[in-house]
Amino acid sequence: MASGIRDKVALLGMGCSRFGERWNDNAEALILEAFSEALDDAGIEKCQIDAAWFATAIEEQHVGKSGIPLAMALRLPLIPVTRVENYCASGSEAFRGAVYAVASGACDVALALGVEKLKDTGYGGLPQRSRGAVNDMYWSNLSAPGAFAQLATAYQAKHGVAREDLKRAMAHVSVKSHANGAKNPKAHLRKAIDEDRALNAPMIADPLGLFDCCGVSDGAACAIVTTPDIARGLGRTDLVTVKALQLSVSNGTESQHNSWDGSHFMTTQVASARAYEEAGISNPREAIGLTEVHDCFSVTELVTMEDLHLSPEGGAIKDVMDGVFDAEGALPCQIDGGLKCFGHPIGASGLRMLYEIYLQMQGRAGDRQRSTEPTFGLTHNLGGFPHQNVCSVVIVGQEGA
């Protein structure tokens, strides 16, 4: 029986570039910006890193394939660099590689770094690219908002929710993230909005309006991980350790078998249940102090609260409207602005989420710091589409908790 990852690996240092429209920076500059912060934070030398995992999702748009762009950007000393891609879970996937390497004993210190440079397409939104030779011939002509918008129609039908009520809850999700992003100097979108503005925005993919969609950004984020013993040996105390690392990948059930109703994420339900078990958490709503979830769209965040077993099934709208997930609520979600406002440079996003939780646990989150530092924090990525996706759930927490 596998014993899981709990408390085997500690976060030694983290860094995150400013996210946004970095018109005058190449991906390499973003990589260096995030890495320099993490290396300072870790208090080690670059030569102490044994191996690296490098996440990019749409590499054709910027650095190209392989681990070479990371090794070159940082002039790494000929160490192993593995490039990973797993849709929007790519950053968490890189983290998983680095953490597993340390846990296995193969490395003392490992680096996970994700970057994406998306603002070189000439248009807003994600790059429109081929989905693969066969897929292109039969997949619907779907965009990301169009795929996720369908959650809304299915959720309304399943729970008998009026469109207006769902729209209002979605607007609340976005208003909250804008308020949070406004307090974050590294965030891409830093203007607060009100509910009317969200509700009256131009329609992108019905029922998702402009403010239901996250920012598409340039940025990089990274983590340096090691064993708790080595971290203590470096003088670190109050360690933040990895409690759970889970991934669940669609096998075609949602897209090809009639057992899925389209209103939720099968993978998230599975990955989060496994993560709580791995972390030794029996009541997540009580135990988890902070979440950073994959709010690519407002409706994704709303539905995800149920799939993470934080809201009861059909109860997310009430929790959202009650302010449970607001910055001052019982269980803040996207206290850094989330994908919605911090931004979404795909390969970096999972690591950016961890960065915020890491800062919050150490009381270093500036204007947006929670009054009591959370014991457990959860990050969640959802790559792909509701009907076929990659879901990652990572839980970190105070060592020994």
Binding site: L151, A154, S255
Partner: protein, 490 residues
């Protein structure tokens, strides 16, 4: 040997463009068009062409008939999407026909529709198996031309076979003359048309009667006995004059559908024939003519079997399903008659791997999936490993066609971000009765339509993507809401 029409079907695209709008928009330049401003014309959607319209007409004709007995499938059109790739072959794949079927494109003249029908009659008489003749047309016409107003897009299909069927062939004839009333040379988008009065006096009035008289003689039928005269041109008065000249009764002249549909080119004689067959009574005599570099004529007598061979939709159903459209600008844009700013998202390369297409042709063109031999779960696409989470059996699956199965909507959106020639792009998850589902594009969703979870959807064969760089187009199936008038399928 008796040869007859054993099945028939028709298809007109749903949108009917208001001629008045077209006339008004162009009045500054061509005020003389005012006389053509009455009624509406059928216009294909951006994802329709003669191949897709032919598929719809054939599906309507074949209904639930056993398709494995078909001997041949012929497609007649002057506006086929491929000059060198058999268009009828695409239709055959879409219909899931047996690979032994003989396929052929028939083109080159406005007479191609009737000539295909006459040749099919001869082939069947000569012992060929049943021949499905389909004709479809989507003419490209210049802005502010008479043809822009008088043309319509549409298709028809006629199954010719041994025995009387619903209407037996009594006689047929052809008159051939290189009478060039119009032509479209190589690498030309548009027709070059000669003077209307000459076409009327020397063409319609002289060439057609020769063929008609020979066909009547072959049929042993007097002109006055004909109940239904189909003369597929856009002007009603010509048909009436022709009828008088031939001794046909005044009442025999059929509605040429100019007001409701427009003249559908090569398809029009067959469109009119299908329309007659939906209304005719036992014993009625039908005369169908075609014009183009001469004329064709065929005489048919309706038998007792016609009532049992009625299509679900036909031309009547197509006419009833029309929706009026006053958006001339959209028509111009989807037909590339104006240069519209499509945006950078439209630049994605749509190259099709021909190896990929061939290997997956049953899946893509036939919409054929698999059914697990262990648990019986239908799935799309077919897979070597069953998708049922409780099964997962590996191994070959049985061929399982989805195109004609009842389906319903599970989730959907209307998307204004993704590139579509006709925004917003509608798509969503469609679930088939008995198992199987697909996240698929929708088409022909009326503006302001209320889609909701659970509404019935039907599958239609359409153009998925155009590859303008290479002149290729990809076909695939799309879902559209079942129209209230159309009965549910199998």
């Amino acid at each position: 040997m008796a040869v007859g029409i054993h099945a028939f079907g028709g298809y007109l695209p749903r949108r009917r463009l208001s001629r008045q709008i077209v006339v008004e928009a162009n009045a500054w330049f061509a005020p003389a068009l005012k006389g053509l401003g009455r009624g509406e014309r059928a216009i294909a959607n951006w994802d329709e062409d003669p191949v897709t319209m032919a598929v719809e007409a054939c599906r309507d004709a074949l209904g639930l008939l056993d398709r494995s007995t078909l001997g041949a499938l012929w497609l007649a059109s002057t506006t086929l999407p491929f000059e060198d790739r058999q268009n009828a072959g695409i239709v055959a794949e879409a219909l899931g026909l047996d690979s032994t079927v003989r396929t052929l494109d028939i083109a080159g003249s406005q007479r191609a529709g009737t000539s295909a029908l006459l040749t099919a009659i001869d082939a069947v008489a000569g012992g060929a198996g049943p021949v499905l003749v389909t004709a479809a047309e989507k003419r490209r016409t210049r802005v502010a031309s008479p043809l822009e107003l008088t043309s319509g897009d549409g298709a028809a299909a006629i199954l010719v076979g041994e025995g009387d069927g619903g209407a037996v062939v009594l006689g047929a004839a052809t008159e051939t003359a290189d009478f060039v009333d119009h032509y479209r040379g190589q690498h030309q988008d548009f027709d070059y048309v000669w003077e209307e009065r000459w076409i009327r006096d020397e063409g319609y009035q002289k060439l057609v009667p020769v063929a008609v008289e020979r066909a009547l003689a072959a049929a042993g039928v007097g002109a006055a006995d004909i109940q239904h005269f189909c003369f597929p041109t856009s002007t009603t008065r010509v048909a009436a004059a022709l009828a008088r000249r031939l001794g046909l009764s005044d009442g025999s002249v059929r509605d040429n559908l100019q007001v409701s549909c427009g003249e559908t080119g090569v398809a029009h004689p067959l469109v009119m024939l299908v329309h007659v067959l939906q209304e005719a009574d036992e014993g009625d005599l039908i005369l169908v003519t075609g014009f183009g570099q001469g004329g064709d004529a065929v005489v048919l007598r309706v038998g007792a079997g016609l009532a049992d061979r009625q299509p679900v939709r036909g031309i009547e159903g197509s006419l009833a399903a029309g929706v009026s459209d006053t958006n001339y600008q959209r028509y111009l844009a989807i037909n590339d008659l104006i240069t519209i700013e499509r945006g950078l998202r439209a630049e994605v390369d749509k190259q099709t791997g021909l190896t990929t297409l061939y290997r997956n042709r049953a899946m893509l063109l036939g919409f054929i999936g698999g059914r697990c031999r262990a648990c019986g779960t239908p799935q799309y696409p077919a897979s070597g490993a069953c998708v049922n989470p409780d099964c997962g059996a590996t191994g070959p699956q049985d061929r399982y066609p989805f195109a004609d199965r009842s389906a319903q909507l599970n989730s959907y959106t209307s998307d204004r971000l993704t590139y579509s020639p006709d925004p917003p792009a509608y798509y969503g998850m469609v679930q088939f009765e008995g198992g199987g589902r697909a996240m698929i594009d929708f088409t022909d969703v009326d503006p302001g339509a209320t889609l909701e979870v659970g509404v019935p959807m039907r599958m239609v064969f359409r153009v998925k993507d155009y590859d303008p760089m290479r002149g290729f187009r990809r076909y695939f199936w799309k879902a559209m809401p079942v129209l209230p008038s159309a009965p549910a399928e199998e």
